[in-house]
């Protein structure tokens, strides 16, 4: 997408002054949060040992680390994480592409809007995960049903933001191109699309979070692999430390997906100074 706009990266990246790596900066940026984390974990561990809380209610951090270690070493977590990540990513890509396409069609061809928009609004208010059981009935326990759930939940935030972004055009900018007798396509290419990019990324950022949720919910409803499936199994066996260690895997997955998207966003929407996207999530 970046190539459509310019070949060049952020001009400010080179000129912006690097922070000075003195000890104060290092401490406040890494030292302090790390210390707080260690203290919290220590307090948690101590509380559970002191009050002798049983491990099947709340596990101590040490037990979670042990469960995480054995899950990772056996390769079990990786195999299932790959399944969940595949469902989330493939569904996310399908859902966002559909959202982008439908949004563009709706904006560029106003007659389509009257046909499509009522359905969008109607579906918008329904919690999309509610159809997960139906998907399992229709498409079975495999990847397809999860990918479809993920696709559906990630479609809407993208769709709504694309429409908003393509529409949020300054009248002066439209007049500028209008006075040059620009065609509808030229207005889209030179103005509407780049203008919508920050909105699109706001939608994508929401969609990627929804995608992981959708994949897990799909697995809860009916699956024989994936992190959601493992969490259910751990719960049935009252292996709460195991469940917690799977939450850790999930948050690592979520954070890295989100970070990759942010990286892409900084490349594509280089002209926005703030790192926070414009517009609401959904």
């Amino acid at each position: 997408m970046a190539g459509v706009l310019t070949g060049e990266g952020d001009p400010r990246a080179a000129s912006s002054a690097l922070p000075r790596w003195n000890t104060v900066v290092l401490w406040s940026r890494y030292g302090l949060p790390l210390t707080v984390f260690v203290v919290l974990m220590g307090a948690w561990e101590a509380t559970i040992r002191y009050f002798e809380v049983p491990g099947y209610l709340v596990p101590p951090p040490s037990a979670i680390v042990r469960a995480l270690w054995s899950g990772l070493m056996s390769g079990l977590y990786l195999t299932h994480a790959v399944v969940t990540a595949t469902e989330a990513l493939v569904g996310f890509v399908i859902g966002s592409c559909l959202g982008l396409t439908i949004g563009m069609i709706v904006v560029v061809f106003p007659t389509m809007e009257r046909i499509v928009y009522p359905y969008i609004v109607a579906l918008q208010t329904v919690p999309k995960v509610a159809i997960a059981p139906l998907m399992v009935v229709w498409f079975g326990f495999g990847l397809t049903s999860k990918i479809l759930v993920v696709g559906l939940v990630s479609l809407f935030p993208v769709l709504v933001n694309v429409i908003a972004g393509l529409r949020a055009i300054d009248q002066d900018r439209l007049d500028l191109l209008g006075a040059l007798s620009a065609s509808r396509w030229q207005i889209f290419r030179y103005l509407r699309f780049p203008n919508a990019l920050p909105f699109i990324f706001a939608g994508l950022n929401t969609a990627i979070v929804f995608a992981v949720i959708g994949a897990i919910v799909g697995e809860f409803v009916g699956a024989n692999q994936g992190i959601g499936f493992l969490i259910l199994q751990a719960n049935y066996q009252l292996d709460i430390a195991g469940a917690f260690s799977l939450f850790v895997i999930l948050s690592i997955m979520g954070v890295s997906l989100h970070a990759s998207l942010r990286w892409l966003q900084r490349r594509c929407v280089f002209w926005m100074a703030s790192s926070e996207p414009v517009g609401g999530g959904h």
Binding site: L176, L180, S181
Partner: protein
């Protein structure tokens, strides 16, 4: 200012044809219908602008100045009368007029050079020549060296210069400017007025310049069109006898003051515009 020597190297000078009419506004009216109410914005405006002329339009805000410019570009049709630009009646946008708005209206995702060449891209003109011309114009407006910068790296005045370069880059002989310096501070504004005079004389364009600063109009224009409050009518058109090229000191001239006072008198009661702050340069 930075690039005052640029004028000599400019390859797109045109010499105006004396006697040729650049723009005719013939009995133009504009009524906006909004629900069941309607706004009478322009009332039977007639105007003639000669090729190469610099004309200023002053009037209270809301009197339809911006509307008049939009009609000239063909962005909307008038509800009455007709407009003729270089002999052809305006029925839709043709890309033969340059526009500068009050705000620079630069696209933040394009470099300054890419912003200036936007009209070249849209009008599908020769890209290589367009870039060449854009570089010359950026030098002319004092922005040489900023080609690769992005708009948010430039000050408001610099952005407005880029907008002027963009309006000049395609050979549109008629340049429309809608309060282009209204958002600038007084010092920058004086500088921009001087430079605009220089750019105008170097490029040989016809300029229609809207402002609500009376001294600015008198400083820049050959003729000043004074409009009334809504519905906008032409109250009077005044010739400006001050010789070219004008300097800021010319504003101390008695003739300058007389013209300013005359226009202020015409605008009478509804002068919410160009009010004096007690100083000599009251913009």
């Amino acid at each position: 200012m930075i690039g005052t020597s640029g004028a000599q190297t400019l390859s797109l000078e045109r010499s105006p044809e004396t006697g040729r009419i650049a723009l005719t506004v013939d009995d133009v009216s504009m009524i906006f219908a909004r629900g069941n109410t309607s706004v009478h914005a322009l009332d039977r405006i007639s105007l003639e602008v000669r090729d190469g002329e610099f004309i200023a339009v002053v009037g209270p805000s809301g009197c339809g100045k911006s509307t008049l410019l939009k009609l000239v570009t063909g962005l909307r049709p008038p509800t009455g009368g007709r407009l003729i630009v270089y002999g052809r009646e305006v029925t839709r946008p043709r890309g033969d007029v340059g526009i500068v708005f009050q705000s620079p209206v630069l696209l933040p995702w394009r470099t300054i050079l890419e912003n200036v060449t936007l009209p070249i891209d849209v009008l599908k003109l020769d890209a290589a020549r367009g870039r060449e011309r854009a570089r010359e114009l950026l030098a002319l407006v004092g922005l040489a060296g900023f080609e690769k910068s992005y708009p948010n790296e430039l000050s408001g005045g610099m952005q407005q210069r880029a907008a002027i370069a963009r309006a000049l880059v395609y050979d549109a002989p008629l340049l429309l400017m809608d309060e282009p310096f209204g958002a600038l501070d007084a010092m920058t504004r004086e500088q921009m007025n001087l430079e605009l005079q220089r750019i105008w004389s170097a490029s040989g364009k016809t300029v229609v310049f809207i402002t609500h600063s009376i001294p600015e109009a008198v400083f820049l224009a050959d003729r000043i069109v004074v409009m009334s409050a809504r519905p906008g009518r032409v109250l009077r058109t005044l010739d400006n006898p001050l010789p070219r090229m004008r300097s800021l000191d010319d504003m101390l001239h008695p003739e300058f003051g007389m013209l300013v006072r005359e226009i202020r008198g015409l605008l009478g009661g509804h002068v919410a515009v160009g009010e004096s702050h007690g100083g000599r340069v009251d913009w």
